[in-house]
Subunit: 356 residues, 3 copies
């Protein structure tokens, strides 16, 4: 239950060194590697010779070489050569449109003819001098949409992350969800509250007092297929909240790229881009460690939630106001899926219909 004619994050750019990387995405085993000139390529992780996984091979002079019998695979899924063989008649394997951008490798698992690189979201903070970024990757045995739900309803912070970013005011202040075409936004603004421990540390990291009341904001933006960017931060109270001058606040983006592995597992690329004290590498490391710990608290909850859903597939779940962000995001996903299915039933789809 995931759209395939869309861009997903496949790996972080630094996961791709001089060796191939095998990773299953949208139920398809893929192998990623750096071809000639370091350009990223991806093909099926299945050697057309005898079905060996190409990811157990190596990259020689920018070419992917099967580690079993030396078949050389091209970026386009066509065999380039094999010792002692004429390869013209070898069957091709799938190749996948890929693009290295913003520190990630993006992959389009569906119909390659429809892949439009202009649809890769613009990550404006990447390599920007006013911003610093740190992040990581978790593998989670749950439907990727459970993570969409999780991130579009931050009331769970009060319970799951009680010792770091949770606080009772999140429960007390209602959130507001709006839908703008394919974008879903759920926002919550808390005024004149005490900052929770994670944000106190961030204030100190920006050389700001942490013992004064703050205004806190959470603006979650879902865009398809499953990217969620959350504006987060606190400002000393009374300076305008999210709009306060940078000298009175700590402002950051929680960046979440959620990639289905199978129907019940996902690759979760999490990170934080902050717009304060960007040159402080120790602060980057400290925030990354804190965020990694916080997000690890969600893993057991989501995996056990998935186990309950798998055991009781027919049970209806509630859709409350706090769930609105997730519910609306799922609707966007469902519309994409319906369009994809309609298009595939009709032959080559118009590009805008698939991405609409």
């Amino acid at each position: 239950m995931f759209p395939k004619n869309t861009w997903y994050v496949a790996c972080s750019a630094d996961e791709l060194t001089d060796r191939p990387l095998g990773r299953k995405i949208c139920n398809e085993p893929m192998v990623f590697y750096r071809a000639a000139g370091g350009v990223v390529a991806a093909v099926e992780d299945f050697c057309p010779h005898r079905g060996a996984p190409l990811s157990l091979g190596r990259v020689c002079d920018g070419q992917l070489v099967c580690g079993y019998h030396g078949l050389v695979m091209g970026c386009d899924g066509k065999t380039v050569s094999m010792p002692g063989q004429r390869v013209g008649g070898f069957p091709a394997i799938k190749s996948y449109p890929v693009e290295e951008r913003y520190g990630f490798v993006w992959v389009w698992p569906g119909d390659a003819a429809l892949a439009d690189r202009a649809l890769i979201p613009h990550l404006h903070w990447h390599d920007h001098p006013e911003w610093a970024y740190g992040g990581g990757l978790y593998h989670i045995k749950a439907d990727y949409r459970l993570m969409v739900d999780n991130l579009m309803d931050l009331t769970h912070e009060t319970y799951v992350h009680a010792s770091s970013i949770g606080q009772k005011e999140i429960d007390e202040v209602p959130c507001k969800t709006t839908v703008n075409g394919q974008e879903v936004v759920t926002s919550r603004f808390m005024e004149n509250i005490e900052a929770p421990p994670f944000w106190k540390a961030a204030l100190r990291g920006n050389h700001l007092a942490d013992d004064v009341p703050v205004d806190r904001w959470q603006i979650c933006r879902f865009t398809p297929p499953s990217h969620i960017i959350i504006e987060v931060g606190v400002a000393h109270a009374g300076h305008g909240g999210v709009n306060a001058p940078d000298t009175h606040k700590v402002y950051a983006l929680v960046t979440d790229f959620i990639t289905p592995e199978t129907d019940t597992s996902m690759w979760y690329f999490w990170g934080m881009a902050r717009r304060f004290n960007p040159t402080d590498a120790a602060l980057t490391a400290q925030i990354r460690e804190g965020q990694g710990k916080i997000f690890s608290e969600d893993l057991e909850m989501l995996e056990r939630q998935q186990a309950n859903h798998s055991a009781f597939p027919d049970r209806r779940l509630l859709k409350l106001n706090i769930d609105s962000g997730g519910v609306q995001s799922r609707r966007v996903i469902e519309r994409m899926l319906a369009a994809e299915q309609a298009a595939s039933g009709r032959g080559a789809p118009a590009n805008e219909e698939v991405s609409a």
Copy 2:
């Protein structure tokens, strides 16, 4: 293949502290906790909001709070409250009749309307000054009835527990099985034999000579659904065996409460209540350790036996005279099951039919 309109041991009382305990029983995920005043409660381990397991939550002021979004669940399966929500229309989840008694929490997984607390077996030794008790819990990946078979045919002691309680005389002396309504009794009396190591240690623990001939008894009593209490012990020979005065014997009850988890796994609550030297805590610990080791010897046998049964589901097994206790006990279980099914096909059953 287990009756559900009956009482099973869900956990020992001391497993339930200030945190909820998740445990699957009869294929149903349940969460146990201490509600107001320490009274035990049990509901489905499934939050009606988004299907999170309630056992990952916490108990606050005697109320079960979901660890994901703070839904407060009542003992009756009805949502009490949730931050920012009106909960009147929330669907109820199942609640289970539970009772803390004799150091155990008992649960009735079936039709709550039929739960009769008078049917919980009376454990007369509990908290009795002449008795001491120690026990434990094993999780075993086998049909619970394989443990019933195991405990109703103690000839296996000769082979599985050769170094502790086994001895050749168990094989040599026939057992006798009788059925009294729902109770099945298999007994064996061995006279003028050498005590095996476990019982020699018990004699010493009761300050009795361990180097003289003894009479030994094993009286296994099955009562439904799967409780087995075994009178065990040895007396110095010639003093009347099981009826000898306490000054010449060591007398104890092996207590076995076997609770199905799934069709092929069980929770096995084992223990020993002894009626000698009851205030000697070191002796209690020593016996508990010895018994734990002995019962651990059964685990691999039962799990591998289950694997064989799963691989060859159609093979008929033998029903010998030594198996009579297990065979008769299974018949009692089958009658309970048939009555349950007949009743459920007919609407509300008469209580005595279900338990008959």
Copy 3:
């Protein structure tokens, strides 16, 4: 997909000590033990009493005794005795023709009436003063035919075993495959090359110069059901290659007995019999360690290849000239299977048809 009316290696002789050994072969759980006089016997690993695995039992005075209730099982699958029981009516379990020969225990998993001990292959090197042998066993989660493919196409050495026995000349020199009845032979002869590290060490182990050009040979012989013996070695160049006098070469046999466990797992008995410096036990140990390391390099490749095949069962694989040995070997296997099925459809088959 394996013939059953044939001999497989079940275990090495030294795996069978004074305890029974449980091992699944061709999907059948078997238990092997040394009966009276040390003679090997094999029966189903399933006690007819209650389905316990007999391999958890013990061997007493040459008899297999069930570890659960003491049933004594005969070599013929008929119960010999059981404490307190008349066993005449007990159902028999399967017994398997077995033979200890050449340091291995051979088993015939199919129709015992057809078992012909003359069909066990003759291992002429066993216990021969001019030969030394070392070997081991790996359990691999892959169809046994993937190992047949592997061993009948040694071009993979260049890639999988690059640091030990691989070299580019294997890829450069074509192999030749011939079929002689049920025997398939794939051979490759490389002349005037540098010996790879494994063979340099072997030359030194035979007190021969390792820094001179050599001729190298690989002659793979498949015989059904899945035995592969490979003549391997190097000779100082120009002395006749495989036919060079022993004073100028190192000559050995790689011995591979591949036994299906299930449809997607195997027991792989690997070894090397060498015809040089046979009394040097340290050399035997060194070669065994080196070979064990080399063959361990195949495990991940085969298991991941199997995973790909299981995920894409309908994909056609290529059959190149280098695959000819495996392809022809699979045809022999398929003919055996077809003959077996035809025979079983017709009643008792003529022996030569089954083994033809």
